[in-house]
Amino acid sequence: MNDIVSLLTPLSVHTPRFVTYTEKGWHLDALIVTERIIDATRVLADAGYTLETITGVDWPEQGNIELVYDLFHSDRRERAVLRVRIGRDGAEAKSISSLFSGAAWHEREAHDFFGVRFEGLADHTPLLLAEDADYHPLRKDYGAQANDVHQT
């Protein structure tokens, strides 16, 4: 695990830290600089990690959306978490579908729910919402005007 930490440190905002697995559920946690997420994922991909999922979390008071990349190594049985913070409106994140083809659907889903556009992702058509969906339901400010617009 230490070889990965040394490779990740130059790419991350502050040095990656270890968390206790029984308390949190993963081993390594790193906040990555937004532009370097592809290199960070490449480090973990070369080490043999698979991408489990990409989670979007909306922090309106801090004014940004956090993308959490869960990676898992089946032989070493270790979990690593990469985090990226991007601006709430109109910000672009980098797509890692070139490394993990499975990431394309997770990124389309993050675009569905949070409106995050991924540079390098082929199509941004809604994955789970209707084809003409222009609303992003999981953003915290969505609940307010939900009732008047979409009740049928």
Binding site: T50, T55, D70, V81, L99, G102, A104, L127, L128
Partner: protein, 369 residues
């Protein structure tokens, strides 16, 4: 003047209402005659906003949602929710409760694998096994129904244990069902697994390489049939699974027949776990009494993975200390297994694609969440 027409392909909708999609999954197929040129799954026809609901439900109110996420493996899904909340709030689970949870989860896994087996054979054209497996399923579900009270969407687990205790008739019933199921599985192998038509339809269809599994994040029997040795019950043991010795059925050919035999073998392993669990169910409380009514978990995010009948289901929960979760991400194993489809299916015959989808064991509400 001879004009060269572009190769005439037509678009076929293997649409929301189709017997072979086991639910409302739509696949837009660009076809050239019987061959598939390009397959594009369209999801969202049963999107039920589980993750949005989590943000205005308390932890206890959210329990029924989990069993409606994947109604065939409902116990494993609510187990994931209970484990992550227990991890976040530091709730102790008594010994007897972990064993009851394992027994119920494995019984649920067998009923889910049985229905997958029946549905796969119906997709290949044989209707009779469907009636046989429902006969077995009803026997197992009767036992679980006598304890949990429901047949499919069990809302049986609580934080810190289970909602009601198991009694001796249940334990005796489980002891009898294990040999009975073994004879039934032997019969299924004799009648179906070595059937020449099944071999013809499944061998060499839908080959998945370990690199594909890694790049798409496939898990469960789909990954294990391609040589990726990963089972959450042994990789990250939870709820006392490290006490039971069972092995993980593996295969390296990666075709539909390998997935078929791996899943059939998994049923036998589940029977082994149940046998060991029922041998000595420890006495004591079936539920931790000191769980506060309104839970206030620690601030921060947590992750919990659980081995469901279809793969590694994970919950990433972000809590802000209040009694409703701030964000609840449900990592669906079927979504990753299905994302393999476009690459595997290219150039395949349509009938083979249906056999391949049957071997993937998809439950659509879990994909659309």
């Amino acid at each position: 003047m001879y004009t060269k027409h572009k190769e005439e392909t037509f678009v076929l909708n293997l649409g929301p209402q189709h017997p072979a999609t086991h639910g409302v999954l739509r696949i837009k197929l660009t076809m050239d005659g019987e061959y598939i040129v390009n397959a594009e799954p369209v999801l969202g026809y049963i999107h039920r906003m589980h993750e949005k609901m989590a943000e205005n439900r308390t932890y206890a109110q959210y329990l029924p949602n989990l069993s409606r996420l994947d109604y065939l493996g409902a116990i494993s899904f609510s187990l994931a929710h209970c484990l992550i909340v227990e991890k976040a709030c530091g709730i102790e689970v008594p010994e007897r409760a972990t064993v009851i949870r394992v027994i119920m989860a494995e019984l649920n896994r067998i009923t889910s694998h049985l229905l997958w087996f029946g549905a796969l054979i119906v997709d290949l054209g044989g209707f009779t096994p469907m009636l046989y497996i429902f006969d077995d399923r009803e026997k197992i579900i009767d036992m679980m129904d006598s304890i949990t009270g429901s047949r499919l969407t069990f809302c049986y687990l609580r934080f810190g244990g289970v909602s009601c205790d198991i009694d001796d008739t249940f334990i005796a019933g489980v002891r009898d069902i294990v040999p009975y199921m073994r004879t039934r599985l032997k019969m299924y192998h004799a009648l179906v697994s070595r059937n020449a038509i099944l071999q013809e339809r499944l061998v060499g269809i839908g080959n998945i390489t370990p690199e594909m599994c890694r790049s798409y994040g496939a898990s469960g029997a789909v990954a294990r049939a391609s040589g990726v040795k990963h089972d959450v019950r042994q990789a990250e043991p939870y709820s006392g699974y490290e006490r039971y010795d069972f092995d993980i059925p593996m295969s390296t050919d990666g075709d539909s027949m390998a997935r078929f035999s791996v899943k059939m073998e998994e049923m036998e392993q589940s029977l082994r776990i149940i046998e060991q669990a029922v041998k000595n169910v420890p006495a004591g409380a079936y539920r931790n009494g000191k769980v506060p009514r309104t839970l206030t978990p620690a601030v921060g995010d947590f992750y919990q993975a659980v081995e469901t009948p279809r793969g590694a289901f994970g919950i990433r929960m972000v809590s802000d200390g209040s009694n409703t979760p701030y964000r609840m991400k449900l990592r669906s194993p079927c979504l990753s297994n299905l994302s393999l489809l476009p690459e595997v299916v290219e150039g395949m015959l349509l009938a083979d694609m249906l056999a391949f989808m049957g071997s993937l064991d998809l439950v659509i509400p879990e994909i659309d969440r």
